[in-house]
């Protein structure tokens, strides 16, 4: 019997994609243009930064190409590590949990075709973002080292096997894991492992303070430094081969061995992957059908939260309780707390590592300035956290809207609960973060008061905007909460937050500069109408950014139809 082509097997996927594109086109050009603009800005920024670095490297005799090669090797290595992790997670859903599996498995499609189709789907789903990120990086290398037009196809030929290798490895790891644990448990396990590993990498990278390595004077002598650069990170890493393939093309002499290694390894891995699939898939898929969590009893903490919420009206209390339970029982959600912890540690560490109090005494003027700018950064950190935890809140109710809308629940109660479940911990975090960093910076009491008050106002606004934008741009069909913040709406929310942050900081810069002036001249600060007015305007912006998004969100939720 003739077998369907890979294109046919993947038809539901690409047809869905085409339909989404059509829908986007029908909704007008605003959204694609916005995305293209942000994408272009990112590309230009990445290209610009790397262009400057590489230009500097090119100017360094002897060491330049070595440094450039090392940098490329490191970037590609981090790409491959990220890709293995994301392929592991994606493979779990495409090979074991996807909705089209029942159809494909009952159809007479042979195992090899099925494997290749699903491998391709996993590869595209998990690699497209990394592939896009690689474009400005490779473009910068091509431009600085005059790669010419042939460099573009050469780079594609080099990068392609580098995407295939992690896809095969990731799906093979998933295949083995699913055979060991049930799929739902595996998904929980993987979310934790993936996030834990990513968090670990970030922490290690930050805590070893790589910026010190950029200063050759830290090494005992120049020869040591060159020796370190000349040694490949590991001769068996595909990322190293890709880096060599690209650097030998750009800087010569051209060596085809790395390219041959890359392609032959990719081909060999696909063969081994297919063999593993043939042996283990049927058993794994059967196991994937089992294994939900069983027997949960309200523990001490459930009783404690319940008691704490006792003064609330019953609908609000039950809603908050439900949200807290769902959060801590869903590994894809709570595991993001690991990332959050890392973000906070790295942030506080960065502030501690500032060379403000090392060596000579830096004037209070700069410390105060840093403390003020710290406000903006803290705001940004809070916005990223709100994007992760508060933005998806309304989307996650999608499938259950039948219950909420057919019950006498006031939708304001719904938003109120969602708002405070997100805002309360965010507020604690914001105060702790700002307080701790200000203490580290040893800021004067005036700045401490201004920044604490400002961060409270900003937190209330950021949480409201996250909830409001989340309601305006819901993603009801997504099952994984972690994917919701990376949607278009998430992007719009982050941009809107930055606008509010900048506005508040600009308005507050008036009183702060008056204070700095008084520090500089040594005269006491004079409270005048302008200073009071600035505080009032800043409070007004925060209040408006809190109330307006919540109202818009409420109006939007009331109009939802299911």
């Amino acid at each position: 019997m003739s077998q369907p082509s890979l294109v046919r097997v993947l038809e539901p996927k690409w047809r869905t994609l085409l339909q989404r594109l059509r829908e986007t086109r029908d909704e007008g050009w605003g959204r694609p243009l916005g995305l293209a603009l942000v994408g272009a800005l990112f590309w230009v920024a990445a290209f610009g930064v790397l262009y400057r670095i590489l230009k500097y490297f090119r100017g360094v005799e002897e060491l330049g190409p070595l440094l450039a090669g090392k940098l490329l090797g490191l970037m590609l290595l981090s790409f491959v590590s990220m890709l293995v992790l994301s392929n592991v997670v994606t493979a779990l859903s495409s090979f074991f949990l996807a909705r089209d599996l029942d159809l494909l498995i009952t159809a007479p499609v042979d195992w090899l075709r099925f494997y290749l189709a699903k491998l391709g789907e996993t590869l595209v789903d998990s690699s497209w973002m990394v592939a896009l990120m690689a474009v400005p990086i490779l473009a910068a290398y091509g431009v600085i080292y005059h790669g010419g037009w042939w460099f573009a196809p050469y780079a594609v030929v080099t990068i392609l096997p580098l995407l295939v290798v992690p896809a095969v490895l990731g799906s093979a790891i998933t295949l083995v894991l699913v055979n060991l644990f049930p799929a739902r448990r595996t998904r929980d396990l993987l979310s934790v492992i993936a996030l834990g590993a990513a968090a670990g990498v970030v922490l290690v990278l930050r805590l070893v303070r790589p910026e010190r390595l950029a200063r050759p004077e830290g090494f005992r002598n120049l020869l040591d430094f060159i020796a370190v650069l000349r040694t490949p990170t590991s001769p068996f890493l595909p990322s190293e081969w890709a880096s060599q393939a690209i650097m030998t093309f750009l800087h010569g002499p051209l060596d085809m061995l790395p390219l041959v290694l890359l392609w032959s390894t990719a081909a060999a891995l696909v063969t081994i992957g297919a063999f593993l699939h043939a042996r283990l898939y049927a058993q794994g898929y059967t196991k994937a059908q089992e294994g939900a969590e069983r027997f949960v009893r309200g523990g001490v903490w459930g009783w404690a939260v319940g008691t704490l919420l006792r003064p609330l009206p019953v609908a609000k209390r039950e809603f908050v309780l439900k949200d807290v339970k769902l959060f801590f029982r869903d590994a894809t959600q709570w595991s993001q707390l690991i990332l959050l912890a890392v973000l906070v540690v790295v942030y506080v560490f960065n502030v501690k590592a500032l060379p403000l109090f090392s060596g000579e005494q830096i004037p209070r003027f700069y410390v105060t300035l840093v403390a003020f700018l710290n406000l903006g950064l803290s705001g940004f950190v809070l916005a990223s956290i709100a994007a992760r935890f508060i933005f998806p809140a309304v989307s996650l109710e999608g499938r259950h809207m039948w219950l909420l809308r057919s019950s006498p629940l006031d939708l304001r109660t719904l938003l109120w609960s969602k708002y405070w479940v997100g805002t309360a911990p965010l507020l604690v975090l914001a105060l702790a973060l700002t307080g701790a960093t200000n203490l580290l910076l040893r800021v004067p009491p005036f700045m401490m008061a201004v920044s604490l008050a400002a961060i409270v106002g900003l937190t209330l606004a950021i949480a409201a905007m996250a909830l409001g934008f989340g309601a305006v741009y819901p993603r009801f069909e997504t099952e994984n909460a972690a994917q919701i913040p990376t949607s278009f709406g998430g992007l719009v929310f982050m941009m809107a937050t930055i606008v509010v942050l900048v506005a508040v900081i600009v308005v507050l810069s008036g009183p702060v500069s008056a204070y700095l002036n008084s520090l500089y001249t040594g005269r006491p600060i004079r409270i005048n109408a302008r200073i009071v007015g600035a505080f009032v305007v800043a409070a007004g912006i925060c209040a408006a950014a809190t109330i307006v998004p919540l109202r818009i969100g409420l109006a939007r939720v009331e109009r939802y139809e299911f």
Partner: protein, 254 residues
């Protein structure tokens, strides 16, 4: 108890529900029948307040579902056709949550939860996460949640889907007792035998409009069909498929 006045729903230019008016009295079990895509689910979701009508009004008692939703919905128990429940709550937690949405709490709720789980044979599953429940068990849990606050009327979309024969029988008994005590049930179903045996009155919807409405005898009179079954009536009103067409679709057996 349930009153629809010129209820209409448009999706763009497509008319899903076209100017439907109905009055269902307390103590009545009313069946809504129709082919797939006729507008039954849309009508029920408008009655439950999930969808907003493009025109017309829905009353539960004297309260307009869309003007005074909190009053109207207190009287309603809604059972949807697809049982989406919070996967990470246990059965008992879900029922407690739903009771909370209706402003109920305390020992009364706990007793009611125990009672409903017992009736639907879910007691041994009360502390298990819903993600471990089968389709039928979820359906039973949703039916329990619709009954937890002792509603005055129940709106139910395809009640028997996923239920085992014992649970289906139980549900029929519950509906009968519920209407005997003055409650109102509006249900949509494709199981014509159940509609014929249980419903006091039936409406058949075709392309968003009511094609016929009344008791079985009234329906027979309206269609001048003589003493035929509901299945015959239904096929006459909605257009059945001839036997030779079916044979063509199925083709020769391999």
């Amino acid at each position: 108890m349930i009153r629809l006045e010129t209820l209409t729903k448009l999706y763009g230019s497509f008319v899903a529900v076209d100017d439907i008016s109905l009055a269902i009295e307390p103590g009545e079990l009313f069946g809504l029948l129709g082919p797939n895509g006729a507008g039954k689910t849309t009508t029920l979701r408008m009655i439950a307040g999930i969808l907003r009508p493009s025109a017309g009004r829905v009353f539960l008692g004297d309260a307009d579902v869309h003007q005074a939703p909190l009053v109207a919905k207190q009287r309603l128990g809604f059972i949807p056709d697809r049982p989406f429940v919070y996967e990470k709550l246990t059965g008992a937690e879900f029922l407690r949550f739903v009771a909370g949405l209706y402003g109920q709490e305390g020992d009364i709720v706990e007793r009611r939860i125990a009672e409903l789980l017992e009736v639907f044979e879910l007691t041994s599953w009360r502390d298990e996460l819903v993600e471990a429940y089968s389709h039928g068990m979820r359906q039973k849990l949703i039916i329990s949640s619709a009954l937890i606050h002792r509603p005055a009327c129940i709106v139910v979309d395809e009640p028997m889907v996923g239920l085992d024969p014992k649970a289906a029988r139980l549900l029929k008994d519950i509906f009968r007792q519920f209407t005997r005590r003055g409650g109102t049930v509006l249900m949509s179903t494709h199981t014509l035998e159940i509609a014929e045996a249980m419903c006091d009155r039936i409406a058949i919807i075709q392309r968003g409009k009511i094609a016929a409405c009344g008791t079985m005898d009234e329906l027979r009179r309206q269609t001048a069909a003589g003493n035929v079954s509901l299945e015959e009536l239904f096929l006459r009103l909605t257009g059945g498929v001839e036997a030779h067409e079916l044979a063509e679709v199925l083709g020769d057996a391999p």
